[in-house]
């Protein structure tokens, strides 16, 4: 009996003092572990400045898709059509550039319009006619791919003009500081802007933490132990610092990174701080209750899918710009990568649970896996097997740990 009592008091203590929610950061730890694992396996090849840069450029479009997909997943559904929409938007942009000779911004607007049209189309069927999203997006998956082959006449269009490709392959202007070490960055010098941006981000993270500690104190909310906060922030600051140092040693900040960061920031804000975001979570958690709480669930459904179409167009532009061409096979299987990113990042298949940051981390875990295995010499088929295992493993672990808690 005495054993039981000690257990009880221990339980009461943990209630009083909340600890760092390890589940929330579990994915980040997994990301680091996977990265370090491949660093060892490839003898540090995946830590070169060029490879860090490639990681961003190769995964930019998956991250953009994962951000949109998370909203779909929050409603308890998925969008199967995004891979095809990515290709169709690229095809439209390519055709406009090559056959009609329009300028890059006009081509991009054209692609965005096509993506938005796909989104509105899905949204209409899903919300107004209440057709299950799985079916509607399965249809757009087929239609988009077919349309793409029709537009491109089953051929690759390229090379696309440099003004267009800039968004997928370009860099922000740099200010080079030359160092005494001629080996560093092949004598090109280190980009000052990169270092400044990295430093500013680090400062912002520290300020945000101080502010949140301050508000917690003001409202007398429970806080996690200080050493845990410091440790958490130290890890984050180290990652940011490492990342920008590597970029500074290459060509500077890629345009894709800016685009990606902006989208992640906007959608993180929407999901965590706005009424609209709250409505998506409420609807995913219990649609009936949400409706009786004044939420127009049809409208939410419509915008979630319309938005997904638009983001698929952005991804389509970035992908075709990076490839410097539009091909009918582009974006094949991207929908699965985006969906997997959300689930690896902790989203629930039943809806109502998941975060933008989680989905982004999920996307990068997949990206690092792909990249690391390529560097280590495994072909894409082996990569698929491993990705499948990681998805299954992550979700199984997540669900089992939740069950234990209960």
């Amino acid at each position: 009996m005495s054993k039981v009592e000690t257990k009880e008091t221990a339980g009461a203590q943990t209630l009083k003092k909340p600890q760092l929610n390890m589940k929330q950061y579990g994915m980040v730890i997994m990301l680091i572990v996977v990265y370090v694992f491949f660093a060892i396996l490839t003898g540090g090849k995946n830590m070169t400045p060029m490879n860090i840069n490639n990681l961003i450029m190769q995964n930019g479009y998956v991250v953009i898709l994962a951000v949109g997909m998370l909203l779909c997943v929050l409603t308890g559904n998925v969008d199967l059509g995004v891979g095809s929409v990515v290709a169709a938007c690229g095809a439209v942009a390519g055709t406009l550039l090559m056959d009609f000779g329009v300028s890059a911004p006009v081509a991009m607007l054209g692609a965005l319009a096509v993506g938005a049209a796909f989104g509105v189309f899905v949204g209409f069927f899903v919300s107004k006619l209440e057709i299950p999203p799985f079916i509607v997006t399965l249809a757009t998956m087929l239609m988009g791919r077919g349309l793409c082959y029709v537009i491109l006449k089953a051929q690759t269009k390229g090379p696309l003009p440099a003004s267009y490709n800039w968004i997928g392959t370009g860099f922000l202007p740099t200010i080079r500081i030359m160092t005494d070490n001629p080996d560093l960055n092949k004598g090109k010098g280190i980009d000052l802007i990169c270092l400044v941006v990295g430093a500013v981000i680090c400062a912002l993270i520290i300020l945000a933490e101080i502010k949140s500690q301050h508000t917690a104190k003001k409202h007398n909310l429970p806080t996690i132990p200080l050493w845990q906060t410091v440790a958490k922030d130290a890890v984050i600051l180290f990652i940011v610092g490492f990342f920008f140092w590597k970029l500074a040693n290459y060509n500077g900040i890629p345009v894709v990174l800016i685009l990606m960061a902006a989208l992640v920031g906007i959608y993180h804000f929407i999901t965590t701080k706005t009424v609209a975001g709250r409505q998506v979570y409420a609807m995913g958690g219990n649609a009936k209750a949400a409706r009786l709480s004044g939420i127009n669930t049809k409208k939410v459904f419509f915008w979630v899918y319309a938005n997904m179409g638009l983001l698929a167009a952005v991804a389509g532009i970035v992908l075709s710009a990076r490839n410097q061409s539009a091909t009918p096979k582009a974006g094949d299987g991207f929908e699965m990568d985006a969906i997997a990113s959300c689930y690896i990042g902790g989203a629930a298949t039943s809806g109502g649970v998941g975060t933008i940051i989680g989905a982004v981390v999920g996307a990068f875990i997949m990206g690092i896996l792909n990249n690391g295995m390529s560097l280590a010499g495994y072909d894409t088929n082996v990569q698929k097997i491993v990705k499948g295992c990681v998805l299954l493993g992550a979700v199984t672990f997540d669900l089992l740990s939740k069950r234990k808690k209960r």
Partner: protein
């Protein structure tokens, strides 16, 4: 063999350090009906789950002696093989399968391994249904075409099909109307005559004192006392005293110093058709008025159209071809969306909190502010986090939600506390008119009292409150005035002391007769 068919001795069960059951003892005599009473969260369902093997042997301490033999059930199959069958509160029927298939689900009549013998299935299903008073039912129709009352009886037939000796019924009448409840209780007495022992868990004390031979009261995971028919005082007061550990001299708090003002809510000539069948009129020429500071009841049997009335007014959430007018504060308003209803200070606390009221996976704070988010907790679509925290904390204290943090998920709260969260959610929309649909269903006596106090508080603040309830004592205890609704029409209106169970029933009967004549 002792006179007891079942003895549970010193049962202790913990959930991560918290004792849900603490040295519980239960003795059930052969062939009796034993009732288990207790507030929500007292441990009744946990005890039954221990007995039926949902929590396998080893997860609890203490022993179970059934028919003189110590049992160590590892799962439900093992307890069922011994004849202990539990019927849970939520029905476990598969809606699209036929009645016969449902009766033998998991217990199929087989020809050889794995091949179903349909003749035997149907024949025996018919026999079992006859035993529960459903001898005339067609066993081939899908079970979802039958009402909840009949479905409950099918559950019992299913249990009989497993040769149940000890039948456990968890809140069997919670979803039934008075007539169906009475039918079920009679059936229990019949089964008793056939030698089947029953354990019933129920909040409806009048039913328990009618049907039970003995009552075991559980409070905070401990057995408090066992009362026996003919020996002990079986009155509701006595049971409640045991359940809450104190005497609740008045189950309904008095409302004093609450002046009744002008009519602020008015519904005129309200007509609504069924959402799936435009020719079927569900509500006919309904007229109601509610004054500021007044609590008005909507009494009636289940299916009378009360919830339909409330939901059709509240943002046209039910039905089609809705006609009629709604006036709030003297102004005619068109409430064709829930947001508009909220904007015009109308609130509707739905009857089924888990399905229609709460997002169970989210926090108390999330749920409390959900309806008011747009109007009171955001600027230009951006949510004000700290205001949310401050206001939900304020309401948590004000209506006494028992939790250590407003960040706790609502799904982990007890029914009574969940109901308080739903109430807070609608109070935060700053309504003038509140419709409370079955505000105390399935919650314990203590929490009920607290909810009645909140209703009084709202009335005192000059709100118009409408209470929909199937428990007539609740209407009598809380309302200044009540409308009696029957078959989609207002069958009568009763005021003050006129409101009695007899008067309400008389209204319904008179209305039914009128319907038959015309």
């Amino acid at each position: 063999m002792s006179e007891y068919i079942l003895e549970m001795n010193h049962i202790t069960k913990e959930f991560s350090g918290v004792k849900a059951l603490d040295d519980v003892n239960l003795q059930v005599k052969q062939g009796e009906i034993m009732a288990i009473c207790g507030e929500n969260g007292a441990g009744k369902s946990t005890l039954m789950n221990v007995l039926s093997g949902v929590y396998p042997f080893g997860e609890y301490t203490g022993d179970i002696v059934y028919k003189g033999e110590t049992c160590k059930f590892r799962n439900i199959r093992e307890s069922e093989a011994k004849g202990i069958v539990i019927i849970h509160q939520e029905l476990a029927l598969s809606p699209y399968l036929s009645v016969a298939e449902n009766v033998f689900i998991g217990n199929e009549r087989l020809k050889t391994r794995g091949v179903i013998d349909w003749t035997a299935t149907k024949r025996e299903a018919k026999n079992l249904l006859a035993r529960v008073g459903l001898g005339d039912e067609n066993v081939d129709v899908p079970v979802n075409t039958l009402g909840v009352g009949k479905q409950q009886l099918i559950e019992i037939a299913k249990a009989l099909g497993k040769n149940a000796n000890l039948l456990i019924l968890d809140e069997p009448t919670a979803a039934l109307n008075d007539r169906e409840s009475a039918q079920l209780l009679e059936l229990m007495l019949q089964l008793k005559a056939q030698g089947i022992t029953c354990i019933i868990i129920s909040h409806k004390l009048n039913e328990i004192s009618y049907v039970a031979d003995s009552i075991t009261i559980i409070r905070d995971g401990k057995t408090i006392e066992t009362l026996h028919k003919g020996v002990d005082d079986f009155s509701e007061e006595q049971i409640i005293k045991g359940m809450v550990g104190r005497e609740l001299t008045n189950r309904y708090p008095k409302r004093e110093g609450c002046p009744i003002g002008d009519v602020i809510f008015e519904v005129k000539d309200w007509n609504v058709c069924h959402p799936d069948d435009g020719d079927r009129q569900v509500l006919k020429d309904v007229n109601i008025q509610v004054r500021a500071g007044e609590v008005v009841g909507l009494a009636g049997l289940m299916g009378a159209g009360r919830t339909e009335l409330a939901m059709s007014i509240f943002g046209h959430s039910y039905g089609q071809k809705i006609t009629g007018t709604v006036k709030i504060n003297g102004q005619e308003v068109k409430l064709d969306s829930v947001q508009k209803a909220i904007d015009h200070h109308l609130a509707y606390v739905s009857e089924d909190r888990k399905t229609y009221g709460l997002v169970l996976i989210d926090s108390i704070k999330f749920n409390m502010t959900l309806s008011a988010l747009k109007n009171f907790f955001s600027k230009k679509g951006v949510v004000d986090d700290s205001l949310e925290t401050v206001r939900s904390e304020e309401y948590r204290k004000r209506i006494n939600v028992k939790t250590n943090s407003i960040e706790q998920t609502v799904g982990s709260l007890s029914g009574g506390n969940q109901q308080k969260v739903v109430l807070a959610k609608w109070m935060l929309t700053e309504p003038d008119v509140l419709i409370l649909d079955e505000p105390t269903r399935g919650i314990d006596v203590g929490a009920k009292y607290e909810i009645y106090c909140v209703i009084n508080e709202l009335a005192k603040a000059g709100k118009a409150v409408i209470v929909i309830s199937s428990e007539m004592p609740e209407i009598i205890g809380t309302c200044d005035r009540t409308y009696v609704i029957n078959e989609g029409e207002i069958a009568g209106e009763l005021k003050g002391d006129e409101i009695t169970q007899e008067a309400i029933m008389a209204c319904i009967m008179a209305h039914n007769r009128k319907g038959e004549v015309s």
